[in-house]
Structures are given as structure tokens and as C-alpha cells.
Symmetry: C2
Subunit: 108 residues, 2 copies
DNA sequence: ATAAGACTTGTCATTTTTTGACAAATTTAT
DNA sequence: ATAAATTTGTCAAAAAATGACAAGTCTTAT
């Protein structure tokens, strides 16, 4: 796996956009959304809608799976940040995830 | 800190309820919710509303902070599970959380 | 067998949250 | 100063979460 970004997902989009010298308006059009909202996304004031990941990957010719990982880690990182979840608690959360895995494979 | 549960939050509530020999109806009443919905919560089909944590703590005479941690780790664990987030990706998510911390302390 | 209590499931209206869209700033580059 | 780019505020629409109730199953006592 390619090493993932140490940025927010919004910053990552901005990075890509700048690399490709697109304006907000131009990229927003390609993504089928409003430039004002894309601005908010890049500035972390709104979330990028997961449904648009395939489109985003196509526009910048990125591997969708890796992009999804970028997105996923951003989302979870955000939650960790917002809830002030410590490493110790995160460890517990991981164990609980594992518990769900065991349980649900049996159950389903 | 007391060691946290390796159960879902719903299962934990059920555990507490059974220990105290309360019916769904009885506990639901104390929590100001419908017994049918409490059943769903215990069975993981709905989320417990965070707003009720203080009430829940009071009913069972629990430390609110610890209960919150129980809740928090359940929530994040659930997200880890649902998104199939691997340990490796979780590590990245943690770094991103750290990045947000640094950034937002500066920014705010 | 059946009646009662405990629990579960399905559905739907209400509430809350998220999203899309537009107008009006503000900033940046020329 | 102008024009383009970006940001911010607001609000209606869409989507998701919640509350409530009805109807179902399952168990247990009689």
C-alpha cells in the first residue's frame, strides 16, 4: 500500500486540485457540486460525501481503494479527535471491534 | 480506570438490567423511553442516545466518566467494525487525529 | 390449553442532522 | 479598480436517527 497522507481529506483534495491547477468551480463542476460547498469541504467545514469517491478517483486517476482508505482513516481520525479518545481507549475500541467481528460472523 | 467491558454497549445495558432484575419495561420507564426501543438497543439494532448516559449512570450508580468511555469505545469500535478498518489503517487514523490536534490547537 | 408477562419486530410520524443551492461577502492577482 | 477565486451565511430539501405504537413470539405459571 502507498503510504497514506497526513492531512485531512479536505486538505488532500485541495492538494490534488492545486496540483492539477483547477479552480474550485472547475473541480466542483466535475464532482457535480457547488463550488461554495467544495470550499467548505476543503476547509473541513463539511464532509465529502462518500458517494463521490469514485468520481474523485476518476478525475485524478487515483486508485479507488487507496482513496477510500484515505477517506476512512480521515473519518475515524476525526472521530478520535472529536471525542478526545486516548490511545488507551482506542485500544479498547479496537478490542470491541474484534469482539463484534467474532460475534457477527457467528450470528449472521 | 476500571477495565472496560468487552461487550457491545447494548449487551452491557442488558447485563446491568439483569443484575438488577429489572424488566425492559421497568428500565425503559426510568430512562424515559419505550421498552420496544430499549430492546432494540440491547440487541444492537439501535443506538443508545448519548443524552441518556447521565440518567443511566444514576440508575445503576455508575461513574459517568467511565460509562462515557464505555460508550465512546463502543461507538468507535462499531465504526472500526463496520468499515472493516484494519489495525494498520487504524494506526493511520490515529496519526490523523494527532494531526488535527496539532492543527486545531494552533488554529482555534 | 391458555392466560399473563417479558421480549422482539415492523412500521411510521416526528425530530434531528446532513446536504445542496444560492446570494453576498472577502480575498487575491493583475 | 476590476475580475476571478474563494469563503461565509442562510435556508430549503434530503437523509438519517428517534419515539411511539401495534402486533407478533416465546416462556412460564396455573
Amino acid at each position: 500500500m502507498t503510504s497514506l497522507m497526513e492531512t485531512t481529506f479536505g486538505e488532500y483534495i485541495r492538494l490534488l486540485r492545486n496540483e492539477h491547477e483547477l479552480t474550485l468551480t472547475q473541480l466542483a463542476a466535475k464532482l457535480n457540486l457547488d463550488s461554495a460547498n467544495l470550499s467548505k469541504i476543503e476547509n473541513g467545514k463539511r464532509d465529502f460525501d462518500e458517494k463521490r469517491l469514485p468520481k474523485l478517483a476518476k478525475i485524478f486517476n487515483l486508485n479507488l481503494t487507496e482513496l477510500r482508505n484515505e477517506y476512512l482513516t480521515d473519518q475515524i481520525g476525526k472521530q478520535i479527535y472529536e471525542t478526545n479518545c486516548t490511545k488507551q481507549l482506542l485500544q479498547v475500541a479496537e478490542e470491541k471491534a474484534e469482539y463484534r467481528r467474532l460475534k457477527n460472523i457467528k450470528t449472521a
